[in-house]
Amino acid sequence: MIRQPLVHLASPSRDAYRVDGFRFQTQDKKDSQTSVAIVSGLNGHELAQMHVAAQLVNFLKVRQEADPSFITGDILVVPAVNSFGFNMGERHWPLDKTDINAMFPGYDAGETTQRIAHQLFKQVKGFEWGVELEDRRDQYDCIPYVRMIKSGFEDAQAAKYFGLQFAHYRDFVPSDAGSLQYNWSVWETKSYGLVFGNKQQIHRDSTHQLLDALIRFLAKVGAIRTQIFAGYDTNIVTQEAITLIPAQHAGVFEPIQIVGSFVQKGDLLGKVFDALDGSLKEKIYAPVDGLVTCHYHYPLIYQNTIAYRMISIG
């Protein structure tokens, strides 16, 4: 393993800003030589994502030390890009609140976060595969899933290599234009987003699940030599399979069904109570049969906000 400095920037007063990557490369020319870049923590709330990436670094390091032939490709893991954000609970770049993950491919003569994106992208482009670990930007608890953006360079079938329950295959939207995942695909890297976890929290179960998913992916593409249990036979779903269920009223939200539940049309999903007098304002029911993929996570809910997301197959 080599620890590589990828980005460096001086600060006005605090410590210098640094982004490090951890590189694992086979020395055997007969190996696959496939290359995978895994980037995490582009925003400072992605604690679970950083932790999974760091656990992956540790796993690869320990296994490589025990067996030098374990690594059969070229793997770069970047656990924390926005380290300044992590260290002060800020999602975005702390000074100007810009989103590093909206600045790719970056610009070396541009603003600070454009320069950070430029320095990082120089190091992570050109890989055959790219995986971005990220949270949802909104307040939802979701089944971990793979996100693919239609770009003309995605490999939808390889999304199954992670072995997660489903992969969301969606159209490009304008806000994707500056994301790492999309720009990877523009530069001909087959890219995926792994979306999981809640903001500013780490859960032991999902850490293990996602770590397994990454190891499974690395094994399937030939970057490591290992045995691992098969995961789910991933369902690739498009927007047509997704049902959004809003809360008609604002108040205190009580989810009844947890994510991962299979429910039938008419099942009770959740309730909304008046925040002040405690009365029941609304019961939310499943409008279709299907799998509960996400529910609103924060106790207070705004009117018309999506309370549940479900997918239906067939």
């Binding site: 001086a10 100007d96 603003e111 959004l244 002040l276 009117q303 018309n304 906000t305």
Partner: protein, 316 residues
């Protein structure tokens, strides 16, 4: 007439309201059928537009007989942000001007965005007033995506601004209010001036004159057109960007909106500990300094200034 167009229930005993103040002709037969929407407060830290809209509302209340079209005023789109010094939509930390056209059944910011588009669409003209951010002070200017150059530049020239900046169409800007409205057929101009969290009354009064002129030219007010400035125009020159070469404290050596020559000192970047000597920054070209950094702390890359190389600019 003050109207409530969107009402969204908040969790604890409050509503978000999208309100507009609508002015219509007293004499219905004088109505030329045109409708203009004047908008501010998409970003909660931008206050300049609120001042202009309040001045305009006062004038319209005092001169109802001069109104010959429909004038809709929307001073405070992101009202929770404005009342809490928050640029984004509070709680969601979402930039409202990056999620248009929004969707009615989704997150709170998306509902606001969808309500705004629903309210404004159908207007002939919209003026979306912005006030930079807390970092940069801007000369009064109109920004136009090159896609809409032909239809918008003639209107922009009526607005009494100092600079018309036609920029490339950038994909991420497709999620702005201006793009959504222009796509729906409302000629929408983005006005930018001043600095975040502050008021620059002289600039506000300059825009107010421009709004009177535009509405006179469009037949929405029965007044004589005002005499307006001849703006400099980005197609007739080049915009230079000056980004900080170092981290530290930026101390300007020149005033905003100054005419500059090449290699003139803009300011220094000071090392807070004084270990390194101050780093001087110089102008890369001659012209009008139309953007100047207001907030002193900088990293490498922080924007310090923008200069337009045309020599015909007029400053307040």
């Amino acid at each position: 007439m003050l109207e409530t167009l969107v009402s969204i229930e908040l969790p604890v005993g409050e509503h978000y309201y999208l309100k507009r103040h609508r002015f219509t002709p007293v004499d219905v037969s004088a109505d030329n059928g045109k409708r203009i929407s004047i908008i501010s407060g998409t970003h909660g830290d931008e206050l300049e537009g609120i001042y202009v809209i309040s001045l305009l509302a006062e004038w319209l209340k005092a001169n109802p007989s001069l109104i010959t079209g429909t004038i809709d005023l929307y001073p405070s789109l992101n009202s929770l942000g404005i009342d809490s010094i928050t640029r984004t939509v509070p709680f969601y930390q979402t930039d409202l001007n990056r999620i248009f056209p929004g969707t009615a059944k989704d997150t709170f910011p998306n509902q606001i965005a969808a309500g705004i588009v629903e309210a404004i669409q159908g207007s002939d003209i919209a003026i979306d007033i912005h006030a930079s951010n807390i970092f940069l002070r801007e000369l009064p200017q109109v920004r136009i995506a090159s896609t809409y150059r032909d239809s918008l530049v003639p209107l922009a020239k009526q607005l009494n601004m100092d600079f018309i900046w036609v920029h490339d169409a950038i994909t991420v800007l497709e999620a702005t209010l201006a793009h959504s409205l222009n796509q729906l057929g409302t000629h929408t101009l983005v006005v930018e001036y001043g600095v975040g969290m502050r008021l620059t009354p002289t600039y506000g009064e300059q825009l107010l004159d421009g709004l009177f002129n535009l509405m006179a030219e469009q037949g929405i007010l029965a007044i004589a057109p005002r005499s307006v400035r001849v703006p400099f125009y980005s197609d007739q020159g080049e915009v230079y960007y000056v980004n900080s070469p170092a981290a530290g404290l930026f101390v300007p050596a020149m005033d905003h909106c100054q005419m500059v020559v090449k290699d003139q000192l803009i300011g220094h970047i000071h090392d807070p500990y004084g270990v390194e000597s101050p780093v001087p920054c110089y102008t890369p070209g001659a012209g009008v300094l139309f953007t100047l950094r207001e907030y002193p702390i900088v990293y490498e890359g922080s924007l310090l200034a923008r200069i337009f190389d045309d020599q015909k600019g007029v400053c307040v």
